[in-house]
């Protein structure tokens, strides 16, 4: 066990260096911008966006100084919890940390359904394809994964949107329908988690007494009365808006997982210990699922970790297609509007996700496979 602990500590120390490198790299990229654009990285409230104050900021934070001085100052800002001001995050802008907090739930909603689907279904199909190599399942999964991998995700999203719109006459863009948005933002609805799917259920289950006392504002055209049914309606509405993005991500991202699982399983099935297990007279299923699949899962674990981190870090394209106000949509909008602190904050956030996922996967590895930690 001690070797595992030292291994984890060693990995964590490496993580700090990678994070320092990552932030230095993005900071170096931002240095290409003139000081008045970069001043936004130090702004804490709307008051400071006025032109007169901005010039003061350029002097105060020495935005014409050499790189290492600025980087040091900026890092200390980050440790104080200030990532700057994002002018692309809604009308009037908001602090980057605030933007991350309010946009995170919409990304999370999609990942909540997409990630398990991709991982479990992908592993299942990959294993089946490897067992029945060159069989029908293998050929079908090969075609599906190559096609899925070749499709531009924004195009699939647009096709789905247009088709759903033509067939059902509903527009499934955005997180909720307008009626539900009015309902959710009215004061009777308790936004406990910020995730609409959870909040609907929570309101229906726990906040009944509170919700019934409060009258919905006059501009509520949604026509929903406050009751547990309409609370649950919010969840259902949110769920229906998540379906299309989830389909897009599953179609696109499952392809890679299937391929990796298949080849890793094929490799495992060719190992001598499988022959030994078969020679011992073990049942076929035991050999496949206990001996081969377990070993074949190791590379898939890495991929899954990276995949989830990538998804949580934001679905730039998918969210943009479906107008989901999540992290990815915000990042895309900030890139177009040259909102430097937002892009910087977002890049750091997603890098952090990747690094943490890497660490988790490494620790899992060391736990599963003793050869790694003893190396």
């Amino acid at each position: 066990m001690t070797s595992l602990v030292t291994y984890i500590i060693r990995r964590m120390m490496l993580l700090v260096f990678v994070l320092l490198g990552v932030t230095a790299l993005v900071f170096a990229i931002t240095m290409m911008f003139p000081p008045d654009v970069r001043a936004y990285m130090y702004i804490r409230n709307a008051e400071q966006t006025r032109p007169g104050v901005m010039t003061g900021l350029i002097e105060k934070y020495g935005l014409n100084d050499p790189f290492y001085l600025q980087y040091g100052r900026w890092l200390s800002q980050v440790f104080e919890g200030n990532l700057g001001w994002s002018h692309a995050a809604g009308v009037g802008g908001m602090p980057v940390t605030e933007a991350i907090r309010t946009k995170w739930p919409y990304t999370f909603e999609i990942v909540l359904f997409a990630a398990p689907l991709i991982i479990f279904v992908g592993i299942y199909i990959g294993v089946q394809a490897a067992i029945h190599r060159n069989g029908v399942i293998d050929q079908i999964s090969r075609v599906i994964s190559i096609v899925g991998w070749s499709l531009p995700s924004f195009w699939v999203g647009m096709l789905l949107l247009a088709t759903v719109n033509a067939s059902f006459h509903v527009s499934l863009t955005g997180p909720l329908t307008q009626g539900s948005i009015n309902y959710v933002t009215s004061s009777g609805f308790v936004r406990a988690t910020g995730v609409d799917i959870f909040d609907g259920v929570l309101n229906a289950a726990f906040f009944q007494g509170r919700a019934r006392d409060i009258v919905v504002g006059a501009n509520n055209t949604g026509g929903m009365a406050i009751s547990w049914i309409s609370d649950l309606g919010v969840s259902v509405d949110a769920l229906s808006h998540v379906i299309l993005p989830v389909i897009v991500i599953v179609v696109i991202d499952m392809a890679l997982l299937i391929r990796v699982m298949r080849s890793s399983m094929l490799e495992a099935l060719g190992k001598p210990y499988i022959i030994t297990a078969k020679a011992k007279g073990l049942k076929k299923n035991v050999v496949i699922y206990k001996h081969a699949r377990r070993n074949a899962l190791i590379p898939v674990a890495t991929l899954s970790g990276m995949l989830v981190a990538g998804l949580l870090g934001g679905l730039v394209i998918t969210e943009t297609v479906f107008s989901m106000p999540g992290l990815g949509n915000w990042a895309a909008a900030s890139a177009v509007q040259v909102d430097i602190p937002a892009v910087l904050g977002y890049a750091i956030l997603s890098a952090l996700m990747f690094v943490i996922a890497n660490l988790v996967v490494d620790i899992l590895y060391a736990y599963i496979d003793p050869r790694i930690r003893l190396d």
Binding site: F17, V22, I146, P152, S153, L159, A162, N165, T320, F354
Partner: protein, 372 residues
């Protein structure tokens, strides 16, 4: 003369196993239907790219700008029209001809895919070889640097690069030369310890250092939006190649034939050129083939966000992006389907062709699984 003939014989004998290998690969390739489909798709696109000036004669000074039907635009300024005899695929927003855009977009796709993969591959080959072959501190520094870039989700870093690059950049030639000479002197020390050569390079190095301080020579370079996208994707892509190449070199460098070559007095560069690269190149070619498709997808995604090719440029991603407003037309179901279905099919088939080819190449070239 006799000597030449002898050498030619020797060469033929030494090449025989390699030729046999190529013949085997070709045979395997013909047996795999998916590989053939992929090859045919790529060849069809290559034919479209080559014949583009015939298929869709350019009308303006810049062939990559899609011609606009001005007479049509006077009647119907914005809304796309469905396919007609004048516009075989119809038009997109602002009456740009879709057919022209799709045909010339093929050249753009090849340009993006091949250039980005080529440059990333070259950087990766150089850095990966240095890191893998020499190891030690150099390896540690180079690999930690690639770790940092790989720690990013590619699209986001590419986005940051695209918006950070100015339209026109001043390349400091003196500085570039300095870097080249520093690398060269390292190379000389590592590969070919030759005092005279080293002295020349170091004198040049000293001159470039002086020139940086006294009169820097700089070169103005203007980058189009598409160039910026390509540079950004290259900057994001090379660490992946470096990692693969380094891994391959680590695998090969302790093989017996490398040891034998070293024992018989070959120089490092000789070993790398004659033994290490030929034995590491196949896995890298597979990665590169698969990568061409995904690079075209990334470029299209950047166009879709709105930071890629400008409006009216013959680029599939840009064309689809300009159709976003016409997804849904109230009262007219499927009215503007052609505007995004056709360019989408072009992208999908292009990427699929490379993916099929790469996937089949992996089965054919991978020595572990191919003989089964």
């Amino acid at each position: 003369m006799v000597d030449m003939k002898g050498r030619w014989q020797e060469f033929k004998v030494s090449m025989r196993p390699r030729l046999k290998e190529y013949a085997f690969m070709l045979r395997r390739m013909r047996q795999s239907p998916l590989a053939m489909v992929g090859l045919v798709i790529v060849l069809v696109f290559a034919a479209i790219a080559v014949l583009a000036p015939v298929l869709a004669p350019p009308q303006g000074s810049d062939p990559f700008m899609i011609p606009k039907d001005t007479s049509l635009a006077n009647v119907r300024p914005v809304e796309p029209i469905p396919p007609t005899t004048n516009h075989v695929f119809g038009t997109v927003e602002l009456q740009y001809d879709l057919y022209y855009g799709c045909i010339w977009g093929t050249i753009t796709a090849f340009r993006i895919g091949l250039l980005v993969v080529g440059v990333s591959l070259m950087i990766g080959l150089l850095v990966g070889t240095l890191a893998g072959f020499y190891g030690g501190l150099l390896d540690e520094i180079l690999m930690r640097f690639t770790d940092i870039i790989i720690a990013f989700p590619g699209l986001i870093l590419a986005m940051a690069f695209v918006i950070a690059f100015p339209q026109a950049i001043q390349i400091n030639l003196s500085f570039m030369l300095l870097v080249v000479f520093v690398l060269a002197s390292f190379g000389i020390i590592a590969f070919r310890p030759n005092k005279k050569l080293l002295l020349i390079v170091q004198v040049l190095l000293a001159f470039s250092l002086l020139s940086i301080f006294y009169s820097p020579v700089s070169l103005g370079l203007s980058l189009s939006k598409l160039d910026k996208v390509m540079v950004a994707i290259t900057l994001v892509g090379w660490p992946g190649y470096t990692r693969v190449i380094r891994g391959e070199i680590l695998r090969v460098k302790n093989e017996d034939y490398v040891e034998a070559s070293r024992a018989s007095g070959s120089s490092d560069s000789g070993i790398i050129l004659r033994h290490i690269w030929p034995n590491t190149i196949y896995p890298i070619l597979i990665v590169a083939t698969l990568d061409i498709g995904s690079i075209v997808l990334s470029a299209a995604a950047l166009s879709f966000i709105g930071i890629g090719a400008p409006q009216g440029f013959a680029d599939w991603g840009q064309i689809i992006q300009s159709c976003r407003n016409w997804l849904v037309t109230p009262g007219q179901i499927f009215a503007h389907y052609h505007t995004f279905v056709i360019p989408g099919l072009f992208i999908s088939f292009f990427v699929m062709g490379w993916n099929l080819l790469g996937d089949a190449l992996r089965d054919i070239l991978d020595p572990i699984i191919r003989r089964k």
